[in-house]
């Protein structure tokens, strides 16, 4: 059994104006106390065909995580994402 189970991901503030950040409300369950933080990433899947076009928009550490059910909101500014996508080196 996996130690961590994702129970729900709800998209908040949807639909929203362009300037608002993305908000994902994540509920997960953990079977035992975790000694280390969990890392969560928001990935923009550029193409379902290949992982090559995946873009990590943001990643965040979540912790400490004792056994039990937990919730958090993962928030990413879209503007920051736009800036990031421009600054990313073009893939050939």
């Amino acid at each position: 059994m996996a130690k961590v189970q994702v129970l729900n991901v709800a998209v908040l503030d949807n639909p929203s104006p362009f300037g608002n950040p993305f908000q994902f409300e994540i509920t997960f369950e953990c079977m035992e106390d975790l000694p280390e933080d969990l890392e969560w990433k928001i990935i923009y899947v550029g193409s379902a065909e290949s992982e090559e076009y995946d873009q990590v928009l943001d990643s965040v550490l979540v912790g400490p995580v004792p056994a039990g059910r937990h919730m958090f909101v993962f928030q990413v500014s879209k503007l920051w994402y736009v800036w990031k996508s421009f600054s990313m080196p073009k893939k050939t």
Binding site: M1, L7, N8, D58, P66, A67, G68, M71, F72, V73
Partner: protein
């Protein structure tokens, strides 16, 4: 009959493959296809049953939805106790779900606030073994096992008490296995597959009992499932799709002889599912008419691909009702309520239908007690304990003490089921946690959430804990509460696993369990082999110090022909073969070179046992030359280590090495020089070697080193005995070579070549003048302050050193050494000074000094021992299995019940008497051995067995004996203690066992009161 199609039960139009009603009737589960995964849903039953509940918005319809399965769910089944739900799907997995009792609210994955789970069901185990889609799962009666079948042609039996442990995998089907059903008595499991066969498997040994093919030969594999069913009385098994005269039928298979004479005919297409009503019915008594003793009958529902459903009563020739066009597609599954009056049917078209019958239509259902009595009549199974739950409502508990015990028992049996209780019938929609609803939590989540930066600049969020995990995770105690196991009992598996884990340390087991040998032949060495770790365990616990029991004899058991050869050349071959038997014990703790030794031995042993007599000498020479260098190396290595006087901390190594050390033969160093004439000798003597050492006890650690012929003074050779005890040494000189030595934490004894036996205290003080033995010593044991000597003339003596008295005086072994080639394979002295002798024929005797006779305490060949089936009476929690002299001598006694599996056909009463006889034997043996721990252990098992089987007279006698006379009088000869255990304390332990069967509540009350009376005196 009423019929309802609740439209709200749906998987959004996707097919529903399975439906199952919870045993308490308050909810039901459906399984099928989800959006892009498998889906299991749990629904509230109340809106199905009652119109007003359906309209009431506050009563939730959907209780929980689980999307964990990656692909379509083919089967959902509740455990019989209602605590667990098992689901199997196309993702090859079986998931076991349990309700999370104290966990906060949650939502369905991907949903926003609207669709909330009212109940929380958490996947507690994923069972992975199948390599194909899982088609059906089934819980055994009492939830001992969970069976799952798959398109990989196998059936896997899981240990439901210890998920995810697999009990076995049943192979044999050559096609996709699509249905499973358990015999209600638990003796069989039946499966139907696409290979045109229905197979019945025994739960005793998991072998195939029957393979029924004839009615299925014309069948095509056209159905998605083949859910067969066993009638509640166990007499009939009804298959899904069968063919008769090219018409689809449901074949009726009779339990007796697996005859296939009858079938249910009428469906136009293949039968996909058959489900028996869990109740047995009898004719409804009409008012006024004379009560006629009608034969009880069963009710069976048949669903087919032709979208129609038929309900049959076994008392009628024609179906009770046939419903056509209930669905648009094939019927997939049927589930009856436990009351027997309601039925849910699901279909591939994604809908379910509920059928409600009345008593007038079906008849009067028999209650559990009547059902049990039918089972008992047919199968002889006493279900006394199982019926207590049902009786509880009818039997009046007469005693507050009894009530207390009952409540304790129930509360311990139901750790979590408060969640599964009837309170769930109308749960509130808004689950509240800490006075805050999920809505409130969500609103403030972003504000409450603490966000920090880690030193490397990353964001770190501290999540909000919305619910503690309920700690009662997958409590096996719940499953253990099933007290009696129908017939096979999963205990056997637990036992065997225990057995293997017990005996696995050391290659000894591989030696004992070598394939291709008659079990009777190998059992003595197996006993000797298990002795090693056993010995060691006891030593570590500072319990019984069982000094090297397996003297020279194991070779006799290994190969009986060694005996003949040893007669011819007593010295050489005998010692070689004894080494062959014992080297593995010693070589185990070593790495490298030692590892190859067991292999060699095995090879050697095999060849020698294969060889003919004329080959023997060649063989002997060969093996001799081959073994010699290795042995020398082994021996030297160990001796060297010992000489440094470094006490070995390795607990395994020391006691195992001990028998080897004592037996290191002089053959390699000097020729055998046994002084006494061999003619009079019945038992072999250890030969003399230059030096040896042995560990006498672990705690405190005492080492004994012997060096023979150290110095020559006036023509006589002196030997030195050196002993180190916790770092302090003493030594003494002896006028003759030391043959063997033994010791306990209290005394040390050495036997010399001149047949003198000397006894020293642990500090080296001579306690007794040298004792002259009649013949050379064969084996020597010390335990506590007792010394036991077994002489080559087959006589046995035991002395109490403290009292300076003989407990056993030159008792001859001839009376037990009957038969030409029986010899002593094992001997030991218990802590209480009771000598025990194990013979190569598997019998084991101890000398009772009070009876002044030999008493048989164990017999490996006794069929009674092997047939006894008391496993259901073993303590449920993993109580320490008795480890004492009795267990040691009986090879941990786990052979008991080995044959029970082959006796599936023996009548129950026969097995019952055999078990009774066996248990009584054990009790008596433990008593003779003065092994208090074991006596208590077997007494409790015995009591439990009596309670389970309901033999009141014996139970009463047992209690009476333990209680003794209530009023003191001078004439009573009653002893208040036995083996140092207070009898009344024992009775206090037995009483809670008695409570388990309400039938004995009067007995319980009687003795409880008397005990109280005595205590107040």
């Amino acid at each position: 009959m009423k019929l309802l199609k609740p439209s709200w039960v749906s998987h959004n139009g996707k097919p529903i493959f399975s439906v199952d009603i919870h045993p308490d009737g308050t909810k039901f589960a459906t399984g099928g296809q989800g959006e892009d995964s498998g889906k299991v849903m749990i629904w509230n039953m109340a809106p199905v049953l009652r119109d007003e509940d359906e309209k009431n918005e506050n009563i939730p319809k959907m209780l929980c939805q689980m999307d964990n399965h990656l692909a379509c769910v083919n089967c959902v089944r509740w455990s019989n106790n209602g605590l667990y739900l098992a689901s199997g799907g196309d993702d090859k997995l079986v998931m076991v779900w349990k309700r999370a009792a104290f966990i906060g609210p949650s939502t369905v994955f991907g949903s926003s606030s609207k669709l909330a789970n009212v109940e929380q069901w958490r996947c507690v185990t994923i069972l992975r073994n199948h390599t194909g889609d899982v088609m059906d799962v089934a819980w055994s009666p009492h939830d001992v096992w969970l069976a799952s079948c798959s398109v990989d042609n196998t059936i896997v039996i899981w240990n439901a008490r210890k998920f995810p442990e697999m009990v076995t995998c049943l192979r044999g089907h050559t096609g996709l296995v699509k249905g499973l059903t358990w015999d209600p008595v638990g003796k069989y499991v039946a499966s139907q597959a696409d290979d045109h066969s229905l197979r019945v498997w025994r739960t005793m040994d998991w072998q195939m009992e029957a393979n029924i093919t004839k009615p299925f030969s014309e069948c095509g594999g056209t159905t998605h499932v083949l859910r067969l069913s066993w009638s509640p009385d166990g007499q009939y098994l009804v298959s899904a799709h069968a063919m008769n005269n090219s018409g689809p039928t449901a074949q009726i298979v009779e339990r007796g002889g697996w005859k296939t004479n009858m079938d249910f005919v009428g469906h136009r297409k293949a039968v996909t599912v058959v489900k028996f009503n869990p109740k047995i019915f009898k004719k409804k008594q009409k008012n006024g008419s004379a009560p006629k003793p009608g034969c009880p009958y069963c009710c069976c529902a048949v669903g087919s691909k032709d979208r129609s459903l038929s309900v049959w009563l076994t008392s009628l020739k024609r179906p009770l009702v046939v419903i056509h066009d209930l669905f648009d597609k094939s019927i997939m599954d049927i589930s009856w309520t436990l009351t027997g009056l309601g039925m849910l049917v699901c279909s591939m078209d994604g809908t379910v239908a509920y059928l409600d019958f009345s008593l007038d239509e079906l008849g009067d259902p028999l209650n559990e007690e009547e059902k049990n009595s039918i089972h008992q009549n047919i199968y002889g199974k006493s279900l006394a304990i199982t019926s207590t739950e049902a009786q509880l409502s009818t039997t009046i508990i007469e005693n507050p003490e009894m009530l207390k015990y009952q409540q304790e028992r129930q509360s311990s049996a139901q750790l979590g089921p408060s969640s599964a209780g009837p309170e769930a019938s109308a749960p509130k929609l808004n689950s509240v946690m800490n006075g805050e609803s999920l809505e409130d939590i969500r609103k403030n989540l972003l504000k409450k959430q603490v966000e920090t930066r880690t030193p490397d600049g990353r964001r770190r969020i501290t999540p909000l804990c919305i619910a503690q995990l309920d700690t009662g995770d997958f409590s096996p105690a719940l499953f253990n509460s099933a007290p009696i196991l129908p017939s096979g009992s999963s205990m056997s598996n637990q036992l065997t696993s225990q057995l293997s884990s017990d005996s696995s340390p050391g290659p000894a087991s591989s030696l004992g369990l070598r394939p291709g040998h008659d079990p009777m032949l190998t059992s003595p060495p197996a006993g000797a082999a298990t002795k090693g770790p056993e010995d060691n365990k006891d030593g570590a616990k500072s319990g019984l110090l069982l000094t090297s029991a397996s003297k020279i004899e194991p070779m006799k058991a290994l190969d009986s022909r060694f005996t003949e050869r040893s007669k011819a050349t007593p010295g050489v071959t005998a010692t070689i073969s004894s080494i062959a038997g014992l080297v593995p014990l010693d070589s185990r703790p070593k790495d490298g070179g030692g590892v190859s030794a067991p292999k060699d031995v095995k090879a050697k042993d095999d060849t020698s046992s294969d060889s003919e007599d004329k080959m023997a000498s060649i063989n002997k020479n060969l093996s001799f030359s081959k073994r010699k260098p290795e042995l020398l190396m082994d021996g030297d290595g160990v001796v060297e280590k010992r000489k440094k006087g470094r006490p070995r901390k390795d607990k395994m190594a020391a006691p195992m090495a001990q028998p080897f050390m004592q037996m290191t033969p002089p053959a390699e160093r000097e020729p055998s020089r046994v002084a006494a004439p061999p003619a009079a000798l019945k038992l072999p003597t250890p030969s003399i070697k230059k030096a040896f050492s042995l560990q006498v006890s672990m705690e405190p650690s005492v080492f004994l080193e012997v060096e023979n012929e150290v110095s020559l003074i006036a023509g006589s050779k002196l030997s030195q005995l050196r002993c180190s005890r916790d770092g302090r040494d003493w030594n003494t000189l002896l006028p003759s070579s030391v043959v063997t030595a033994a010791g306990s934490s209290d005394v040390l004894a050495v036997a010399c070549q001149d047949r003198m036996l000397s006894v020293f205290s642990s500090c080296g003080r001579r306690l007794l003048p040298a004792i002259q033995l009649a013949t050379p010593a064969s084996a020597l044991h010390c335990s506590a302050h007792f010394v036991m000597a077994l002489t080559a003339g087959a006589t046995l003596s035991v002395w109490d050193v403290h009292k300076q008295k003989a407990l056993v005086k030159n008792e001859s072994l001839l009376s037990i050494l009957s038969g030409a080639d029986t010899t002593v394979s094992q001997s030991l002295l218990t802590q209480q000074g009771v000598p025990v002798i194990g013979l190569s024929n598997g019998k084991c005797y101890c000398f009772s000094s009070s009876l002044e006779t030999w008493t048989l305490i164990a017999d490996k060949g006794d069929s009674m021992v092997q047939c006894a089936d008391f496993r259901s009476c073993l303590p449920t929690h993993d109580a320490p299995v008795s480890s004492g002299p009795l267990a040691v001598m009986q090879g941990r006694n786990l052979n008991a019940g080995r044959l029970a599996s082959r006796l599936s056909s023996t009548p129950h009463h026969l097995q019952q008497s055999m078990t009774l006889a066996f248990l009584e034997n054990q009790l008596a043996s433990a008593l003779t051995l003065q092994s208090a721990q074991e006596y208590r252990y077997w007494l409790l098992i015995y009591a439990r067995f009596l309670v389970n089987e309901g033999s009141e007279h014996r139970l009463r006698e047992l209690c009476q004996e333990l209680l003794g006379p209530v009023h003191k009088s001078a004439a009573t000869a009653w002893e208040p203690t036995t083996l140092g255990l207070r009898k009344r304390e024992l009775l206090r332990e037995v009483l809670p066992v008695i409570v388990e069967n309400l039938r004995f509540q009067r007995l319980f009350t009687e003795y409880q009161d008397q005990l109280e009376l005595l205590r107040n005196k």
